[in-house]
C-alpha cells in the first residue's frame, strides 16, 4: 500500500480515537462515565501489552521458545493477588490524591523530595528507550507495509508525520487545568478501544495463518519441522523463575500501568472483575504466538526480515492487503497506547518532582506567580510531553536497529522493578524508613544499570555473572537482593521522624484510617486562611476554592472566618494541591505560606492512637444511641400496660352501670394501684435520668448504716408480712462506731430497692431475707441475701442495666426493672460498689460496699 495512503489512514485512525475520547469526556460531563466499569478498566490495563507483546513475542519464538510467556504469567500472578495488594495501593492513592508512582513512594516516606526525584529520574531513564522502541515499531511496521525504506533525514520520513500527530494527540487530551484528580476519561476510553483493536487484529492474523492457510495447528507446526527450544535448554529454570517474578513486580511499577491501574481506576470494585478479565486478555493475545512464530520463521527467515516483524510480514507474504492493514493498525494501537500513557505519566512525574520543586525553591517565585501556578503547571507538563517524545524519537533514530524489542523491554523492567521493594515493604511494614528506601532504590538502580550497560561499553561484569543466568536474570538477582538488603538494613538502623512515622501508619493501616483521615494526618503550625485560599485558587479558581473549603469546614465543624486556619484545613489543602503538583511540590507550597512546627515521633504515635480511639468512641456512641432507643421502647411499653388497664376498667364502669358496688370497689382499687405504679415508674425514670445526668443533689452527711437499715425496715416490715416473708437483720458484726459519708434518704431507697427485689424472688411463706451489716478495714458492707430461685451467672452483668429483668416465674408484675439500675447509680455516687453473688436455685446475695469516712 502507498506511503501517503497508510499515513493518511493512520492519522485518520488517531482522529477517530480522538472523537471517541471527546465523546467519552462529554458523557462524563453528563455524569455517565464510560470508563468506570470492570471491563473498560481491565482493557485499559492491557496497556501493559505494548508493541513488544504485539510484535516481539512472535519474533522470540524460534530463538527463545516459550520464555516469552513469563512476561504475561508474572502479571497474572500479581492480578490473582490484586484484590489484596493493588486495592491497598488504590485506596492509599485515593486518600492522598497521588497521581504517579514517584509521588506514591515519596508520599509514603515523609514526602521526601529526594526519593520523588530519584524515582522520577530512574523512570525517565528506563522510559525513554522503551518509548523509542514503540516509535521504532511504528516506523518499521510503516516501512514494511508501505514497502519503503526509511529516509536518512527525519523530516523526509513519513513516519515522522505519525510522530507529530501522536504528540498532538497527547497534548490535547493530556494535562488538565482544573481537575486535580488527574483522571483522563477520554484518554482511558481510547486506550481501552486500542486494546480491543490490538487483540482482534492479533487473533485475526493468528486464525488466518493457523486455520485458513494451514488448516489447524498441526499443519502449521508440522509443515516446518522446527523444534522449539525448551525452557530447560533455553536458559533453564533459574532464568525462567527469575523472569517470572521480575515481570510480575515490574508490571505494576511501569509508570503507565501504575497510572491506569491505580490512578485512573473509577471504583475499587472494578479491580474485582479485572483480576480475572485482564489475565484472560493476556491469555487470548498469546494463543497464536507459537504458530505465528513458526510460520514466520519458515516463510520469512530466508528473506532476511527482522523477526520482530513476522506478524506483519505474514499477511503481506500472502498478499492479504486488508489483513495486513488490520495487523498494522493493531501494532500501531499497541505502540501508540503505550507512548500516550507513558509520556503522560512521566511528564507528570518530572513536573511534580523536578521542575515545580526547582521553581518553588526559587526566592520570590511563589509569591510572584501564586495566581497562575495552575497554568504554569499545565504548561510545564505540555513542554515535558514534547521533550519526552523528542527524546524517545531521537533514541529510536540513533540506536542501531539490531537491538530487538524484547531486550530493551526487559532492561526497562529490571530498572523499574527497583521501585518494588520500597513500595511493597512501604505498605506492609511501618519501620521502612526514608533513608532505607532511598538507599535501597539507589543501590538497586546502580547495580542493575552497571550490570546491564557496562558490557555495552566494553567493560566486563563477568565476575558477577552467576552460572546459568542470562544478563537480565543476573542483573535482576543482584540488584533486587541488594535493594532489599539495603532497605532493610538502613531502615532498622535509622530513626524515623514524626512525618515519616505518620505516613507509615497511614499507608500500612490505610483501611483503618481511611474513614478518619482528616484527623489522622498530623500537622502543626500557623497558616493564614487567606493564604490557603489564594494558593488553592491559583489551581482550582476562586469559586471552586470557596466550595471546597466550605465542604471541608462543614465536614469537620470548622469556622472559615478566623485569621488562622485549622490544621485540618491546611492538610486538606495540601492534599488538593498534591493532586495537581504532587506531594513534594504541595509540601513546598504549604511551607511557603505557613510556619510549621516539627512534630516528634512519640507525639505522632499518640495522636494516631487518639484518632483510632475517636473511631472507637464513635462506635461507642452508636451503641449508646441504640441502648437509648431500646430504653425508650421499654419505657413506653411499661407505661402502656397500666394505662390500658386503667382505661378498660374505667370503660367497663361507665358502660355497665349495673355492676355491683363490690365489683366497682375492686375496680377502683386496681385503678389506684395502677396509677401508683404509673407514677412510681415515671418517678423512677426521672430519678434515673437525673442520676445519669448528674443533676441530683446529694445531701451528704455522716451516715450510720445501721440507722439506714433500721429506717428501711420500718417502711418494709408491713410489706414483708403481707407477702409472708421473713426478714432477719444482723448488725452484730459491726463493732465500731465508724460511719460513712453519704445521703441518708438515698441509701434508704437503695436498701428498700434491694429488699423489694428480694421479695419478688422468693416464694411466699418459705422466703427468708437476711440483711447483714459488717465492716472491714476500709469499707462498711451490707449484704441482702434471699433464698429464692437465684440468678444465672450469665445474667449478672446485665442485671444492673435499665429494664433488664431476668425471666423469673415468681416475678411480680409491679417491678419496673429500674430499681437495681438506680441503686447502682446511687452507690457509685458514694464511691461504693454493688455486686451480686448468685447461682440458679441457690438464692441471690447483693453486696454493698461503701468506703468508711475518713476522720478529720
Amino acid at each position: 500500500m502507498g506511503v501517503w495512503e497508510i499515513a493518511f489512514l493512520s492519522i485518520a485512525y488517531l482522529g477517530i480515537l480522538f472523537l471517541l475520547a471527546f465523546w467519552a469526556e462529554k458523557k462524563k460531563a453528563q455524569n455517565k462515565s464510560l470508563i468506570n466499569n470492570p471491563l473498560i478498566y481491565a482493557l485499559s490495563l492491557a496497556i501493559y501489552c505494548s508493541a513488544w507483546t504485539y510484535y516481539g513475542s512472535v519474533g522470540q519464538i524460534t530463538s527463545n521458545g516459550l520464555s516469552f510467556l513469563s512476561v504475561y504469567l508474572g502479571p497474572t500472578l500479581v492480578m490473582i493477588l490484586a484484590w489484596g495488594f493493588v486495592r491497598k495501593m488504590v485506596r492509599i492513592a485515593k486518600i492522598h490524591n497521588i497521581t504517579n508512582i514517584a509521588d506514591f513512594i515519596s508520599t509514603r516516606y515523609g514526602k521526601d523530595s529526594r526519593i520523588g526525584l530519584g524515582v522520577t529520574l530512574i523512570s525517565l531513564f528506563a522510559g525513554i528507550p522503551y518509548i523509542g522502541l514503540q516509535l521504532k515499531a511504528i516506523a518499521q511496521s510503516f516501512d514494511l507495509i508501505t514497502q519503503s525504506t526509511p529516509s536518512a533525514t527525519f523530516y523526509q520520513d513519513p513516519s515522522f508525520l505519525l510522530f507529530i500527530s501522536l504528540t498532538l494527540f497527547i497534548l490535547v487530551l493530556g494535562p488538565r487545568r482544573f481537575d486535580s484528580s488527574e483522571k483522563h476519561e477520554g484518554m482511558i476510553f481510547t486506550i481501552a478501544m486500542e486494546s480491543i483493536i490490538k487483540l482482534v487484529a492479533f487473533l485475526a492474523i493468528g486464525i488466518y495463518i493457523s486455520y485458513q492457510i494451514y488448516q489447524g495447528w498441526e499443519g502449521t507446526l508440522q509443515l516446518h519441522t522446527i523444534s522449539l527450544p525448551s525452557i530447560e535448554t533455553n536458559g533453564g529454570y533459574g532464568n525462567w523463575f527469575i523472569q517470572f517474578i521480575l515481570c510480575g513486580i515490574a508490571f505494576l511499577f511501569l509508570p503507565r500501568v501504575f497510572h491506569v491501574a491505580v490512578v485512573e481506576i473509577g471504583e475499587e470494585e472494578n479491580l474485582k472483575q479485572a483480576s480475572w478479565i485482564f489475565p484472560l486478555y493476556m491469555l487470548l493475545i498469546n494463543i497464536f504466538v507459537i504458530p505465528l512464530g513458526i510460520a514466520g520463521y519458515a516463510l520469512l527467515n530466508s528473506s532476511g526480515l527482522n523477526s520482530d516483524l513476522y506478524v506483519l510480514g505474514l499477511p503481506i507474504h500472502f498478499h492479504s492487503k486488508l489483513l495486513a492493514f488490520i495487523v498494522y493498525l493493531g501494532g500501531f494501537s499497541a505502540a501508540s497506547g503505550m507512548v500516550i500513557m507513558e509520556t503522560m505519566a512521566i511528564s507528570s512525574m518530572i513536573s511534580n518532582n523536578l521542575i515545580m520543586p526547582l521553581l518553588l525553591r526559587q526566592k520570590g517565585f511563589f509569591s510572584d506567580n501564586q495566581n497562575q501556578l495552575g497554568s504554569i503547571n499545565q504548561n510545564i507538563r505540555r513542554i515535558m510531553i514534547v521533550v519526552i517524545m523528542i527524546l524517545g524519537y531521537v533514541h529510536y533514530r540513533e540506536t542501531e536497529s539490531l537491538v530487538n524489542l524484547v531486550s530493551v523491554g526487559m532492561t526497562s523492567f529490571v530498572i523499574v522493578a527497583q521501585f518494588a521493594p520500597a513500595t511493597i515493604l512501604g505498605i506492609y511494614w511501618k519501620k521502612a524508613s526514608r533513608q532505607g528506601a532511598l538507599t535501597g532504590i539507589l543501590t538497586g538502580f546502580i547495580i542493575s544499570a552497571a550490570l546491564l550497560f557496562l558490557p555495552n561499553l566494553g567493560i566486563s561484569t563477568d565476575v558477577f555473572r552467576i552460572e546459568g543466568l542470562n544478563p537480565v536474570s543476573n542483573a535482576t538477582y543482584w540488584s533486587i537482593t541488594f535493594n532489599v538488603l539495603a532497605l532493610y538494613a538502613v531502615s532498622i538502623t535509622s530513626k524515623q521522624n514524626g512525618k515519616d512515622a505518620n505516613q507509615s501508619y497511614l499507608f500500612v493501616d490505610v483501611f483503618e484510617y481511611s474513614k478518619n483521615i482528616e484527623n489522622s494526618t498530623i500537622w502543626r503550625g500557623k497558616a493564614r486562611l487567606r493564604d490557603l485560599r489564594q494558593a488553592l485558587s491559583g489551581f482550582i479558581g476562586k469559586i471552586n476554592t470557596e466550595q471546597r473549603l466550605k465542604q471541608i469546614a462543614k465536614a469537620n465543624n470548622l469556622s472559615l472566618s478566623e485569621t488562622y486556619a485549622d490544621p485540618i484545613l491546611v492538610t486538606q489543602t495540601e492534599k488538593i494541591l498534591a493532586g495537581f503538583v504532587g506531594s513534594t511540590s504541595a509540601r513546598l507550597i504549604i511551607s511557603a505560606i505557613s510556619k510549621e512546627e516539627q512534630i516528634g515521633m512519640s507525639e505522632v504515635i499518640l495522636l494516631l492512637q487518639k484518632s483510632r480511639d475517636l473511631q472507637a468512641s464513635n462506635a461507642e456512641l452508636v451503641k449508646i444511641d441504640a441502648q437509648k432507643n431500646e430504653f425508650l421502647t421499654t419505657v413506653t411499653h411499661e407505661i402502656r400496660s397500666p394505662i390500658t388497664s386503667i382505661r378498660s376498667l374505667s370503660e367497663i364502669m361507665v358502660e355497665h352501670e349495673d355492676i355491683s358496688q363490690e365489683e366497682r370497689k375492686t375496680f377502683l382499687e386496681t385503678i389506684i394501684q395502677e396509677s401508683d405504679r404509673l407514677s412510681r415508674l415515671v418517678n423512677q425514670v426521672l430519678d434515673l435520668e437525673k442520676l445519669a445526668a448528674g443533676k441530683v443533689n446529694f445531701d451528704m452527711h455522716s451516715v450510720d448504716l445501721g440507722a439506714v437499715i433500721e429506717k428501711a425496715m420500718m417502711n418494709f416490715t408491713a410489706i414483708a408480712q403481707q407477702n409472708q416473708v421473713g426478714i432477719q437483720v444482723d448488725v452484730s458484726q459491726k463493732r465500731t462506731q465508724r460511719q460513712i459519708h453519704g445521703d441518708f434518704e438515698k441509701l434508704v431507697q437503695v436498701i428498700i430497692n434491694l429488699l423489694s427485689n428480694a421479695i419478688k424472688n422468693v416464694e411466699p411463706s418459705k422466703g427468708i431475707i437476711q440483711v447483714r451489716l459488717y465492716e472491714n478495714a476500709t469499707h462498711i458492707c451490707i449484704d441482702v441475701e434471699d433464698n429464692g430461685i437465684g440468678i444465672d451467672p450469665k445474667y449478672h452483668d446485665q442485671i444492673f442495666e435499665k429494664f433488664k429483668q431476668v425471666d423469673n416465674p415468681n416475678r411480680k408484675i409491679d417491678s419496673s426493672g429500674l430499681g437495681l439500675s438506680i441503686s447502682k447509680k446511687i452507690i457509685e455516687m458514694h464511691q461504693g460498689t454493688i455486686h451480686l453473688e448468685s447461682s440458679l436455685g441457690h438464692g441471690a446475695k447483693f453486696i454493698l460496699k461503701l468506703p468508711i469516712q475518713k476522720t478529720a
Binding site: L66, L69, L73, T76, L77, M79, I80, L81, W83, G84, G216, W217, E218, G219, T220, L221, Q222, S227, L228, S230, I231, E232, Y237, W240, F241, F244, K272, Q273, S275, W276, P279, L280, L283, I287, I290
Partner: protein, 61 residues
C-alpha cells in the same frame, strides 16, 4: 479468608509453572498438533483465571 484463598491460587499457579513440576511436563509430545507443554501452560493459566474469578465473585466475607 478470600485473600487466603487467592494466595493459595497464586502459590499453586507459581508452583505448577516452575521447577520441578515443569521439568516433568517439558516434553516434546503434542496433542492435536499443539505442543503438550504449551497446552499445559494454557490449561494452568486458564485454571488460575477461572479460580480467581470464582473466588472473587462468591459471596464470602
Amino acid at each position: 479468608m478470600r485473600n487466603n484463598k487467592l494466595l493459595l491460587v497464586a502459590i499453586v499457579f507459581l508452583g505448577l509453572l516452575n521447577f520441578p513440576i515443569l521439568h516433568f511436563i517439558d516434553s516434546k509430545n503434542s496433542v492435536l498438533g499443539i505442543p503438550f507443554i504449551y497446552l499445559y501452560f494454557l490449561v494452568v493459566w486458564l485454571g488460575a483465571i477461572v479460580s480467581t474469578g470464582i473466588i472473587l465473585n462468591r459471596n464470602s466475607k
